[in-house]
């Protein structure tokens, strides 16, 4: 069985935030919620690096461990999904998540939150595939269509890889072997001298 994974190649990511926009637009994610975000360190200085982070679909995920209503579950292919019909929006998963992934829509003036929303690996949710309910609550189901997630599909530098862990790690290894790293990377001498 394939184990779905994300891999962000930090040598290629250029902080264009195209993945964030693609995800928001394609999945109809409301304002104020980002299923994916880009983190940049040393901005404007030598050694600037960016990484695109969303739900990492952990093995033995902490969010599943703390969820008081068992709303979060993991599919056989490793994708972690949330059942929005069961979720109570308590926020335990947000505290437990090592990547700060779970998002909660802002509620009324008294600060009541809605239910948790996070990256679905573009695999929809527990609702029937391609149903109106699934589209409304969870967004597209590209996995069922046989496509990779939106963010990885549109990544302009192909920094973001998504799919079977074995396949994407092989692609990444070949890439690293061909390009070299650090001072041996192509274009290094022109960029940093």
């Amino acid at each position: 069985m394939a184990r779905m994974k994300f891999l962000c190649d930090i040598e290629r990511c250029i902080d264009c935030k195209g993945c964030v926009i693609a995800c928001k637009e394609g999945n109809g994610v409301p304002v104020g919620i980002n299923r994916r975000r880009v983190i940049t360190i040393n901005q404007g200085k030598p050694g600037e690096k960016s990484i695109s982070i969303s739900c990492m679909h952990c093995s033995d995920a902490p969010c599943i461990a703390v969820c008081p209503v068992n709303a979060i579950y993991q599919r056989d292919d490793g994708i972690v999904l949330v059942n929005k019909d069961v979720c109570i929006g308590c926020g335990y998963c947000f505290i437990a998540c090592p990547f700060g992934v779970p998002q909660f829509p802002k509620g009324d003036t008294f600060g009541k939150r809605g239910v948790m929303d996070k990256c679905t690996f573009c695999a929809g949710g527990p609702a029937p595939n391609f149903s109106e309910k699934e589209r409304r609550l969870y967004g597209q189901n590209r996995i069922a269509e046989g496509k990779v997630p939106l963010c990885a599909a549109m990544c302009s530098t192909k920094a973001l890889l998504a799919g079977d862990g074995d396949v994407i790690s092989r692609i990444f290894q070949e890439r690293v072997a061909r390009r070299g790293t650090g001072a041996k990377a192509p274009g290094w001498s022109t960029a940093y001298k």
């Binding site: 982070i53 703390v66 090592p98 990547f99 600060g111």
Partner: protein, 295 residues
């Protein structure tokens, strides 16, 4: 046979060789250091460490503790929710309620304003406790919209309680300051462990009532503060974990005292509920349970 001279020469060669090798290693290290500095090469582990600082700086400090705590807290609530009433059932069967003659002089105990605010507080507080329990035992209620509604009521009642509790706090504050005789009351366990009704040292409020007062109001402020940040998510995840811990543990104590308060007012002292509705207590009861008030 090697002479002593030859042996010494070999030793010298070995020593000098070692020094040269060390120098070469140092030169290599220095050179690679220079290269690294010049090209700014940073190991990817280092880069990911820096990403980690931005993404979730303190996760590894609090997370494992938090994950185990959440499960423990649920079990503790089951113990308190069923254990405390069971203890009181035992008390009711073995020792039984206190009865006082409801004849003779009536003493005006609670003013109209006090009673009004008490019942407003009681309404908000009961709703807070019940909806809070619904959130803790969300799985039993099936989660989803039922518990989401409970969470909404929980948050509204928190604000409402803050408003109605402030006047009651000010009304009762004077009588609720702990006094030396409270220690004696505590040693006698308020006289609740004997069937006879002896006089217990207490003013207008005994130490049990004082504990409940401070737990409900001072604890209520802490609950409001932590709950406010838990609901608005205005702080870091590490702080939220700490706040949740405080909220759940303090909630446990408040639940225990809430059950105690219910038992005391509904079952343990006959006519206690009536006094909060009509405002009067009978003299015999006051003399026994709140003796220092009459002097």
């Amino acid at each position: 046979m090697k002479t002593n001279m030859q042996k010494q020469r070999i030793q010298y060669i070995v020593q000098i060789g070692t020094v040269i090798v060390c120098l070469l290693i140092c030169c290599f290290c220095f050179a690679s250091e220079l290269i690294i500095k010049r090209y700014g090469l940073v190991s990817s582990t280092q880069i990911f460490k820096e990403f980690h600082v931005v993404a979730s700086p303190q996760w590894h400090h609090y997370a494992s503790d938090f994950i185990t705590f959440v499960h423990k807290a649920g079990r503790l609530y089951v113990w308190v929710l069923f254990g405390v009433p069971l203890l009181f059932l035992l008390h009711f069967l073995v020792i039984g309620p206190k009865k006082f003659s409801h004849t003779g002089k009536k003493i005006y105990f609670y003013s109209v304003v006090t009673r009004l605010f008490h019942w407003l507080c009681a309404l908000c507080f009961s709703l807070l406790v019940f909806t809070g329990l619904m959130i803790v035992f969300a799985k039993t209620f099936g989660g989803g919209s039922t518990v989401l509604l409970a969470r909404t009521i929980h948050i509204w009642c928190a604000y409402a309680f803050l408003i109605v509790a402030t006047p009651l706090f000010l009304i009762w504050l004077k009588d609720m300051i702990p006094a030396p005789h409270d220690l004696m009351w505590l040693l006698k366990a308020g006289g609740y462990l004997s069937k006879q009704t002896n006089q217990v040292p207490a003013g207008k409020f005994n130490f049990g009532q004082k504990m409940w007062f401070w737990l409900a109001f001072a604890g209520g402020v802490v609950m409001f503060y932590t709950g406010y940040y838990l609901s608005t998510m205005g702080v870091s995840q590490a702080q939220m974990a700490a706040f949740l811990k405080i909220h759940l543990i303090l909630g446990l104590f408040i639940l225990a005292f809430f059950i105690t308060h219910l038992y005391m007012s509904l079952f343990a002292i006959k006519g206690s509920l009536k006094s909060m509705i009509e405002g009067y207590k009978w003299e015999e009861e006051v003399r026994a349970l709140h003796g220092k008030m009459l002097k």
